[in-house]
């Protein structure tokens, strides 16, 4: 499993990660980012894309 870590002090709800991996990230009605913290290895490529397109560099993966 891959652990997804988002620094919410950096996140500005751009939503680029939602587009890269819609099954993992979403913006709630309050515009706050919600995400799955443990994600199957099969989604690695989409998760790396989410890391790469985050304008705030707020997303980190472990494992």
């Amino acid at each position: 499993m891959i652990k997804v870590i988002v620094d919410m002090n950096l996140c500005q709800s751009h939503g680029e990660c939602v587009y890269a991996a819609p099954d993992v990230f979403e913006l709630g009605d309050d515009d706050q980012l919600r995400w799955q913290e443990e994600v199957d290895d099969s989604r690695r490529e989409a998760l790396e894309e989410a890391v790469n397109v985050c304008p705030m560099m707020a997303i980190r993966l472990e494992g």
Binding site: S13, H14, G15, L27, D31, N52, V53, P55
Partner: protein, 406 residues
């Protein structure tokens, strides 16, 4: 041995290096950068770096992880010899097997009278932002911004946050003309509400000095003079392709590439970011060029990966362009190609009008979407743009969508 050379150490260059490594390239990767800094993110230059006294480039460097790259920073590529597979760096050469051009853009300078005056700024590199910040936080200056595009508007907002008096000028009748009239009108109102003096619809004819080499004002086309202690010239950007002038590569407002970001007449040369002119499925017949962060990130990654395989195996770049601008407490976002739209209309908004979504349409189809504080709704619109959805279908879908702004 196979060496990938990347010219340009901004976001596109960094992502290209990462893209090549992630695709399994094990031989050399060399990144040449004119600036002495490791790659840093530029959007804060018009925002946090202006408004936060203690910020330096170190606060905005990209994390590199374990990336294995030879950095040639502080070196400028001066010419390219594609036959010899050599990049000229002044008086020495650097050989490559595959080259990725990621030289980006520079700020378009003021070309009229007064360009040489002290107190006239542009903003593109971190040092520019720090210099402008120093100018804005010394005494109580009056800032005149020439050009009300993205950078001009963002700096206007940052300067107001610092309490600086701002006059924002543009020959266009509305700010951010690239996003159309609707966004322009709302953005103009936003700046007026925050006390910016807008002078739109007439050109600037000269920057005027104080007789001692310092800027003292700007002259408008109707003869009005506006006093200024600091002037920011924000007239857009010019692709850095001069060094390719004698290369034989196809240049036309950028380095012309095919859909796989490969130079049209040299399969060993690829490109990424602001500098690329390439055919996009949404763009009609003419190649497009996109000067935005996400484009540089995504194209960099793909160009890096594509550089590791032969031309026939390369993947086309077809992502829907997306970009944003933060001004005061508003996040303006756009997806698609607003310039291609022939009409724009608001599709949903909150009762107070503070949050809304609009579409740009062409031939009855959605070619762009625009959001004011609408990040959570943008996903729906991004899909619509990606598939060029008929406008009527999108409007019907939004009417049935319980999450739409009401």
């Amino acid at each position: 041995m196979s060496r990938i050379v990347i010219v340009g150490a901004g976001l596109a260059g960094l992502r290209a290096a990462q893209g090549a490594r992630n695709a399994g390239h094990e031989d050399e990767v060399v990144v040449v950068g004119e600036e002495v800094h490791h790659p840093y993110t530029r959007p804060p230059l018009s925002k946090e770096l202006l408004t936060t006294a203690e910020h330096t480039v170190d606060d905005h460097l990209f994390p590199q992880g374990e990336l294995e790259v030879q950095w040639r920073l502080g070196e400028r590529a001066t010419a390219l010899d594609p036959q010899a597979h050599t990049v000229r760096l002044g008086d020495h050469g650097l050989d490559y097997d595959r080259l990725i051009v990621a030289t980006g853009c520079r700020a378009r300078p003021w070309s009229g009278p007064g360009a040489e005056l002290d107190g006239v700024h542009t903003i593109r590199e971190v040092g520019d932002a720090i210099a402008l910040r120093a100018a804005l936080t010394t005494g109580s200056p009056h800032l005149v911004i020439v050009g009300a595009g993205f950078i001009g508007c963002e700096v206007a907002a940052s300067a107001r946050t610092l309490g600086v008096d701002v006059t924002l000028c543009d020959v266009a009748p509305l700010p951010m003309p690239a996003l159309g009239e609707l966004v322009g009108e709302r953005t103009a109102q936003l700046h007026r509400d925050h006390g910016v003096d807008l002078r739109l619809g007439q050109g600037i004819t000269a920057l005027v000095g104080d007789g001692e080499g310092r800027v003292a004002g700007v002259q408008l086309a109707d003869g009005t003079r506006i006093d200024a202690d600091v002037v920011l010239v924000a007239l857009g950007a010019i692709p850095n392709i001069d060094w390719l002038a004698d290369s034989g590569l196809q240049l036309d407002q950028g380095l012309v590439c095919d859909a796989t970001l490969t130079a049209t007449n040299d399969p060993d040369v690829l490109a990424a970011g602001d500098v690329v002119a390439w055919p996009h499925p949404l763009g009609g017949d003419a190649p497009i060029r996109v000067e935005h962060w996400t484009n540089a990130a995504e194209q960099g990654t793909l160009a890096g990966r594509n550089a590791t395989v032969p031309h026939a195996e390369r993947t086309p770049y077809e992502a829907v362009p997306s970009f944003w601008s933060d001004q005061y407490d508003v996040k303006i976002q756009a997806v698609g190609l607003p310039r291609r739209a022939t009409a724009t209309r608001i599709v949903e908004q909150t009762a107070d009008g503070d949050r809304w979504m609009a579409i740009g349409e062409r031939d009855g189809r959605v070619v762009a979407a625009l959001a004011f504080n609408g990040a959570r709704r943008l996903m729906v619109y991004r899909r619509a743009v990606g598939e060029a959805m008929p406008v009527d279908d999108l409007i019907a879908a939004v009417a049935d969508d319980e999450k739409a702004f009401r």
